[in-house]
Amino acid sequence: MNKVRKIFSSQHSFFITTPAIIWQSLFLWVPLLFLFVASFLHIQEHGARFTLTHYLHIFNWEHIIVVMRSLGLAFFNASVCLIIAYPVAYFLACNLKRGKNIALFFLTLPFWINFLVHVYSWFFLLEHNGLINRLLMQLGVIKQPLHLMNSLAAVMIVMFHGYLPFMILPLYTILQKLDKRLIEASLDLGATRSYTFFNLVLPLSYSGALSGFFLVFVLTFGEFVIPSLLGGGKTLFVGTLISEYFLAIRNTAQGAAFTFLSAGMLIMALFGSYLLLTRLIKGKK
């Protein structure tokens, strides 16, 4: 008995580290494994057998188009965010002398506002009798209200609005750490602002740009709320289709197969984007 107690007391660290690991495994890795296995099962009343039919069923144009659409949207959104975020982050990190705290406050605030509130706020602008339409009609630009809501355009705008802070912050963080004297030195040596930016700042902040891009890409790809509320149910995206499979159609196996198909295509797209970005940013030497 004493021996057991001795051994147990030597295992204190094991005792306190296991809960977290078990938690993570139980609630992340096991579910993923489950889904993966389920995607290969044909579930019947009395048992299940291995099958590839689910993957075959979803390997058709309708499903592929949905994934490509989400990928395209994700890439477009991440790129636009990157292009717009860079000048902002650069300005905040390098050019702004005073008022940095205020700028940082307003930069961080969007993260802490409920995402649904973000999306909801656009209702007031985009709705049929919303502000944009009323303004345009009053100015006489249009005669009939535009159908802005329930469209792909609405989805794109709100995605951009929602995820722009996610791009600005990592860029800002890494640009902050940049040694400003390098920039000064470059300018002193006679380089133009843009040359300095493209050949010095850009490659140095590469990791921030990459992490921001990937973050926005992955988040946009799996989005559910924005297409669901602003898309009008007219087009399917990966997020809404997965939800449909698990909640409406209730075909877990096929839903799982689709989930992994999209995940696979996501990984490929991420890898491709990584290569592209690396060439663009670092290749400019």
Partner: protein, 261 residues
Amino acid sequence: MMKPLHYKRFFLPLFVAAVYSFLYVPMLIMLIFSFNKATLGYAWQGFTLDWYKQLLQSIEIWTVFKNSLIVATAAVALSLTLGVALIWGLNRRHQHILSLFYATIMIPEIVISVGLLTVFVFFQVPLGLVTLIAGHTLLGLGFVIPIVHIRFNELDRRLIEASLDLGASMGQTFFKVVLPFLLPALIASGLLVFIISLDDFLISFFCSSATSQTLSLYIYSTIRAGVSPVINALSAVMLFSSSILVLIFLSLSSRLTQENS
């Protein structure tokens, strides 16, 4: 040579100002409309605080808010406890185990949510606040562990050695030496997990039942049917409380970075 630069001087600040306005204009408008008398339509029909009154009196919203608070608090408590326990107890040799936890951020939340739903249904776990807490703690661990780990690495190991040499037990060393040092990281990541849990939609959507609705779910199901002025008031209140939380968070993280330099 100087004149052209003169224009360009203003371009960037103006651009940044434009971006910031773009980020905040929709919410400001929604804020203004929370005082609008009209129920439907976007014409200004007079100032009113009615919606805020309705907000305060709505039993449903208070219930939902209570649920969100319970889940968020529990998720923070659990993820902080589990995370700190892991980092404190982890052997130097086994540091690579931490990489298990970095995957949470990289996997799309919808995949995590449907996975959780499938497993819960399969093992016949009753869906409710408890399952929400489980899911949110999972998300929380993905933030607590990196943040606390970085902070922990900044702790000079010799302090721990010294404490042990002076006769303190591991437990005492932890509570008297390590924990106070980790405190800023704990508070910062705790706040972060809190807000993530309050904000979360996907896990709540898939893994809750009708009796365990959270704030996000309530907002979603209400605006799915159209615009609702009470939600405006609710959003305004949430905006306000978020601002306060951000101020706390920023002052904490600046204190963290100050200590480093």
